[in-house]
């Protein structure tokens, strides 16, 4: 019995390893090729080991235009939006999950509606609003509209709904205010969901292309994905440089992921101890 279960475990482990390789392959190829002097868009097995290791691509990319500035812009914008979402989606999601109020369904429908309508028909009117606010080509345009995401609200609502109410009720009996309940009782329990939210929001905004491209015009306000798109010349793509830039651009996301990924699991212990 014990033996069969351990062979099963080994088999399972091997399957997981196999899946992992499949998932990691493109990222691996991207990084490996970014150190190669002759990356191209035709993939050969032999490319898996980079030919002619060089840092040249990275040096070129880093010194092309104000690349550090683009990097900073993206980092600043994505971080602010992530921070905003963690706080605001928690608040709004909590209200939707736990409170009763008038027009609740209508308001929730509005959340879903913003998710459901293709952006292509909303671009022009949204652009007009940004312009009339005087925010065109500014950090405001890049940050403020995205501080609370419909997806985040939805996620937090679902997660808070699955939490037991006992702790909140207990705190309420103890005379705690709503804000204290939300930020001291509910928020710690939501750590796993908030971590997922943070990863998702950071990722989406770090990679966001369409709106930063349309809402800004100057080099000062350019974000990394827009800069990367501009790296592509007429009809041709400069793969070695694009891959180096993409690898650089993946770095912060990996760091953010690893940081918040821990929170997903540590939420478990936190929740367990509280109970």
């Amino acid at each position: 019995m014990a033996r069969s279960s351990s062979t099963k475990r080994i088999l399972l482990f091997l399957i997981l390893v196999f899946v992992l390789i499949g998932m990691l392959f493109p990222m691996y190829w991207m990084i490996a090729s970014s150190f190669s002097s002759e990356a191209s868009s035709i993939l050969e097995i032999s490319d898996l080991l980079p030919k002619g290791l060089t840092l040249r691509n990275y040096i070129d990319v880093w010194s092309y235009g104000p690349f550090p500035r683009f990097f900073f812009n993206s980092l600043f914008v994505a971080s602010m939006i992530t921070l905003g979402n963690i706080i605001f989606c928690l608040m709004v999601g909590y209200a939707f999950a736990r409170k009763t109020f008038r027009f609740k369904n209508v308001l929730f429908l509005s959340v879903i509606m913003v998710l459901m309508i293709p952006v292509h028909i909303l671009i022009v009117p949204l652009f007009l609003i940004i312009k009339n606010l005087g925010w065109y080509d500014s950090y405001f345009a890049l940050i403020v509209p995205w501080l609370v995401s419909p997806l985040g609200i939805f996620l937090m609502r679902q997660y808070i709904q699955s939490l037991p109410r006992d702790l909140e009720n207990q705190a309420r009996i103890d005379g705690a205010g709503e804000f204290r309940i939300l930020f001291q009782i509910v928020a710690p329990l939501c750590k796993p969901a908030l971590a997922v939210l943070a990863i998702q929001v950071f990722l989406v905004n770090w990679n966001s292309f369409l709106f930063p491209f349309i809402l800004t015009s100057s080099e000062k306000m350019r974000t990394l994905p827009v800069a990367l798109a501009l790296f592509q010349g007429y009809q041709t793509i400069d793969w070695p440089h694009l891959l180096a830039a993409s690898s650089l651009s993946a770095l912060p996301v990996i760091i953010v992921f690893l940081f918040f990924q821990r929170q997903i699991i540590s939420g478990l212990t936190a929740g367990a101890i509280k109970r």
């Binding site: 035709i42 652009f127 065109y136």
Partner: protein, 408 residues
């Protein structure tokens, strides 16, 4: 009364000084596509020079991307925030001209018309909406190494359709190591550019002169599409970007491509033994080596507050010497100014003379307000034939009736 007079005079004075002040300093916005590290510095340098020559004008540059620039331009016009000066690809100029968002520059253009080439895409009836800047076209690239391998004479690229097909077929037999012809897949807004040259070469036409009906299903049209089908059957189908890469890797014998591929080959793939030649003709004594007229145009926003200054900038940019600098940075393309081809730069560029020759046979689609739809119908017909859903005759008959419906 006197008070009123003083008031009026002072108002006029204020207005006048304000006006004057505006006159003194103008900020022009210019959106352009040349953002890659090889070309951008040249653009910036030209702007600096322009600002030096015109100290009252400051140029505000915004970069567009080839893949998504169209969206940004549409949103800008849709919300009334389009720039003063805008670079548009030759295929976009008619589309925007018909929407009445570009400044009619007929008067100015007429003055210099004889000194420049390729006005057709910017001309609608008697009116002109843009200035040609950089001319470009596509030629036939052939892989000498593969031709040799297939038992063909690498120094005799195909001149007629029959020869072309024969060569593609011979190389295609080397598969899977190599394929004959690199055929474009169903890429929207691109496939028609690949098929139409064959139609034009065979003296076929899309629309009649008075644009009252379509002539695409003529005998010439059907022949051209039938030939295109056989070409694609003797090769591989992929996107333009992948076809170019395949050519870079000695994977295909023939591809129709532009100056960008030439640059890439010379810079990054010196090992590829290739040549370029004019597009083949239907028969040695019939038709012509037609190709698609590409290129970049400069247009002015109809709502621009500084049309005079915008015009100044355009005239500066299309000036032979200034444009030549840009073309040199790009590594391909030609200034729209006549006579630029005699510049010493081109004398030392053997490949570019083929492009120059090809430019003489470069054709652009007939300007029509519903071109986007016509283009879609043509692409559908080509696809249906490529995928053996219909015969060339049936597909084009249907295309004609659909286009006719649009024209009505």
């Amino acid at each position: 009364m006197k008070v009123l007079k003083v008031f009026l005079i002072s108002v006029l004075f204020i207005l006048f000084t304000c006006e004057k002040k505006q006159d003194e300093f103008v900020t022009l916005s210019w959106w352009q596509f040349w953002t890659n590290p090889e070309v951008k510095p040249t653009i910036l340098e030209l702007i600096k020079q322009f600002e030096k020559e015109n100290p009252n004008i400051k140029v505000n540059l915004t970069d567009l991307t080839w893949s998504d620039g169209h969206e940004k331009i549409v949103v800008a016009f849709g919300s009334g925030t389009a720039p003063d000066v805008l670079e548009l690809g030759s295929d976009w100029v008619p589309e925007f001209s018909y929407q009445d968002v570009l400044l009619n520059v007929t008067l100015e253009a007429e003055k210099i018309k004889n000194e420049f080439l390729m006005w057709e895409p910017a001309t609608i009836g008697e009116e002109i909406f843009g200035f040609p800047w950089i001319l470009d076209t596509r030629v036939l690239f052939y892989n000498k190494g593969l031709m040799e391998k297939a038992g063909l004479d690498p120094n005799k690229p195909p001149k007629t359709w029959d020869e072309f097909l024969h060569c593609c077929n011979a190389i295609n037999r080397l598969k899977p190591d190599a394929y004959g012809f690199g055929a474009n897949s169903a890429e929207r807004h691109r496939l028609y550019k690949k098929f139409l040259p064959f139609l034009w070469a065979n003296e076929g036409r899309i629309l009649s002169d008075d644009q009252a009906e379509s002539e695409i299903n003529s005998r010439e049209g059907v022949q051209a599409l039938e030939f295109y089908r056989r070409l694609t059957q003797n090769g591989m189908v992929d996107t333009q970007a992948m076809l170019d890469e395949a050519f870079n890797h000695n994977k295909i014998g023939f591809v129709i491509s532009g100056g960008w591929l030439l640059n890439d080959l010379r810079k990054n793939h010196p090992e590829v033994n290739f040549g370029i030649c004019l597009m083949p003709k239907p028969e040695s004594d019939r038709g012509m080596p037609a190709s698609f007229a590409g290129g970049e145009f400069l247009v002015i926003n109809k709502k621009s507050e500084n049309p005079q200054e915008a015009l100044k900038l355009i005239k500066f940019l299309i000036h032979k010497n200034n444009c030549l600098k840009v073309c040199q940075a790009i590594g391909s393309g030609f200034p729209s100014a006549k006579g630029a081809e005699f510049d010493p730069y081109y004398r030392n560029e053997p490949y570019l003379s083929t492009f120059q020759e090809q430019l003489k046979y470069a054709i652009s689609p007939p300007p029509h307000p519903k071109w986007v739809y016509i283009e879609e119908i043509i692409e559908k017909a080509v696809e249906e034939v490529m995928y053996d859903k219909k015969s060339a005759r049936d597909a084009l008959d249907e295309a004609k009736s659909e286009i006719d419906k649009l024209l009505r």
